[in-house]
């Protein structure tokens, strides 16, 4: 009898806890979602509603004037173009270097492998800091050049290690078979290993795309020329320095038909669009990456 009562109490406590968990998760999800929804709503609402602070969650007096306005500015496309350039070439170079470093380092018998590994991993913990990097770029003549952002970030030891782990999980027999057929290391890498490594290459490509697209600090550090700034730096000027999307620092008088906040939000929404589109893939590949990792562990 007593035991039965206790059990009942426990299930009541358990149910309460489960309910509490659902509530907290729902609250947190709303806390994440509402600012994003509000951001979009303000970007597509009528000026009078935005100025009087009348937008809570859903848009009022729906219109896309702000989008027309931002999309007609040359400066927005200039910054977008710079970001696409950095992301495109950065990702190609990053994937290329990661694979080229990972393949030899996945060979356990390679002499000096451990020393070279330490050389790579050490840079995950220590770096020269802001000023030496700036001086290096200055000496290389790369200031105000998009490659100043692309080059230092293309060496990413974390991504290299992901590829290396993957290569290590490929059975050695496959390589042996190719060797017996007379293939050299270059052929094995390109003909045998690369096709097998497509899932992991897709994963790190996404990592590089996200990193280069979102990159802000190196662009701010190395690029001063307005025509060379990528989207994140441009966006920061629009949001925090009240810069008009056309590059004038007078957002408040920019356009009588539009609330400044709508123009800012439109620029933010357009800049986050690529990440939103990639997001389903990001989640899926992340899961795959974790499965690969757990099989290894």
């Amino acid at each position: 009898m007593v035991g039965g009562k206790m059990e009942k109490n426990i299930t009541k406590v358990d149910k309460g806890f489960v309910f509490f968990s659902y509530t907290m998760l729902a609250l947190f999800s709303l806390l994440v979602a509402i600012p994003i929804i509000n951001l979009v709503s303000v970007s597509v609402s009528g000026m009078s509603h935005v100025l009087s602070g009348n937008i809570q969650i859903w848009p009022k007096d729906f219109q896309i004037e702000a989008y027309k306005y931002v999309l007609s500015s040359k400066e927005f496309f200039m910054a977008l173009n710079n970001s696409l350039y950095i992301t495109f070439f950065g990702t190609i170079l990053g994937v290329f270097l990661s694979v080229m470093a990972a393949y030899p380092l996945s060979k356990i018998h390679l002499p000096g492998r451990n020393k070279i590994m330490i050389l790579f991993v050490f840079t995950m913990m220590f770096n020269g800091g802001i000023i030496p990097q700036y001086i290096l770029m200055n000496k290389l003549g790369l200031l105000n050049n998009l490659w100043a952002v692309i080059l230092p970030l293309s060496i990413n030891v974390f991504n290299m290690l992901i590829v290396k782990n993957y290569f290590e999980s490929i059975p050695e027999d496959i390589e042996e078979a190719a060797k017996i057929d007379g293939a050299n290391q270059f052929t094995i890498l390109i003909r045998v290993m690369l096709p097998l490594a497509i899932p992991v290459i897709a994963t790190i490509s996404l990592f590089y795309v996200v990193m280069y697209w979102n990159e802000y600090f190196y662009s701010r550090l190395f690029i001063n020329e307005f025509t060379e700034i990528p989207l994140q730096v441009y966006l920061r000027m629009v949001i925090f320095e009240a810069m008009d999307p056309a590059g004038n620092f007078a957002l408040s008088n920019a356009n009588v038909k539009l609330a400044p906040q709508s123009i800012i939000n439109t620029t933010v929404v357009l800049s986050m669009l690529p990440m939103i589109i990639l997001y389903p893939f990001l989640q899926r590949f992340l899961l795959k990456g974790m499965i690969i990792g757990s099989v290894k562990g």
Partner: protein, 318 residues
């Protein structure tokens, strides 16, 4: 079974070894060749800047370069310790990052425990999809999102404040509020993502332990307290140690994006200070010294925290 197979292949290895040695040796030169481009990039863009910290001991100027600038020993470090600006940015750095750590250590654990209770898979993945999203947004975009909801004129939060009869607050320009904004926005961005590592740790707990506890009549909360939490303690310690190691360099990009002269007094951290005075006023040597100091302190913090953990908890990073 598995062991037998593994054993078998080991024997195979031994048998084939001499032949394999010869065949792989031919490939080594090719392998080094493949490795070469990445190694060159590593040396140029990682190791040259690391060697470049020598300018902290010089009176570096850009025309003489690293090789001709005169050495001045520890002058810049002496200047550092006698500079009130430095103490102000050091204390800002410590306050903001320990304030963050206060939430960053427990929140992902708590939400991972909550997520673990959700049995409806669809609902669970909806929660996860929503919570993970901000991680993929840049700091500039997160800054834009917060500027929008914190706007004095029509921002969602200030509307709520006015609704309950308060006065609107200039969150981004108010020295009393700015640090809270920094911590709140960083939790908004990263807590969801932070649950992943704990979810993985929780899922690897032996389910038999829970079965046993259920038979003994333990409630969910007791199960969490006595089984789940002890099983993931090492992960919590590890994650905390990593955050502690970054404590002096954390939040740099976020603050660089979100701060403004009105809040320098409370928000200027070591690296934003290095960035502004180093690049802006071309104080290359002095700010490199500041950078070295910050790296050193982070290193010492990790080492000592790690030693304490090994001594008292029997767990460590190394």
């Amino acid at each position: 079974m598995a062991q037998k197979v593994a054993h078998g292949s080991k024997v195979d290895n031994l048998v084939v070894k001499p032949q394999r040695r010869i065949s792989t040796r031919n490939g080594f030169r090719q392998l080094y060749f493949i490795l070469f481009p990445a190694l060159v990039m590593l040396v140029i863009f990682k190791y040259i800047p690391i060697l470049g910290i020598v300018i902290a001991f010089q009176d570096f100027n850009i025309f003489d370069g690293v090789f001709k600038s005169p050495f001045v020993g520890l002058d810049h470090f002496e200047r550092l310790f006698s500079n009130p600006d430095f103490y102000s940015v050091l204390s800002n750095t410590l306050i903001i990052n320990f304030y963050k750590l206060l939430f960053w250590v427990p929140l992902p654990v708590i939400f991972a425990l909550f997520l673990n209770e959700v049995r409806l898979l669809k609902l669970r993945s909806t929660f996860q999809t929503t919570m993970y999203l901000p991680h993929f947004l840049s700091w500039v975009i997160v800054g834009g999102i917060f500027v929008n909801i914190l706007a004095v004129n029509g921002g969602l939060i200030n509307e709520l404040i006015e609704l309950i009869g308060g006065k609107p607050i200039k969150f981004m320009y108010d020295t009393n509020w700015f640090r809270h904004v920094i911590v709140a926005s960083s939790m908004w961005k990263e807590v969801g993502w932070g649950t992943i590592v704990y979810l993985a740790a929780i899922s690897s707990v032996d389910p038999q332990l829970y079965e046993q506890a259920k038979i003994d009549g333990a409630s969910k909360i007791r199960q969490i307290w006595h089984i789940t939490i002890p099983s993931i303690t090492s992960t919590i310690v590890l994650m905390t140690l990593i955050s502690l190691g970054n404590i002096l360099s954390n939040s740099f990009e976020q603050i660089l994006v979100m701060y403004n002269p009105a809040v320098y007094e409370v928000a200027d951290v070591i690296e934003t200070y290095v960035f502004r005075t180093g690049i802006g006023q071309m104080e290359y040597s002095y700010t490199t010294a500041v950078g070295i100091f910050s790296g050193l302190v982070g290193f010492i913090l990790v080492i000592s925290a790690n030693t304490l953990c090994r001594k008292f908890l029997g767990r460590s990073l190394w």
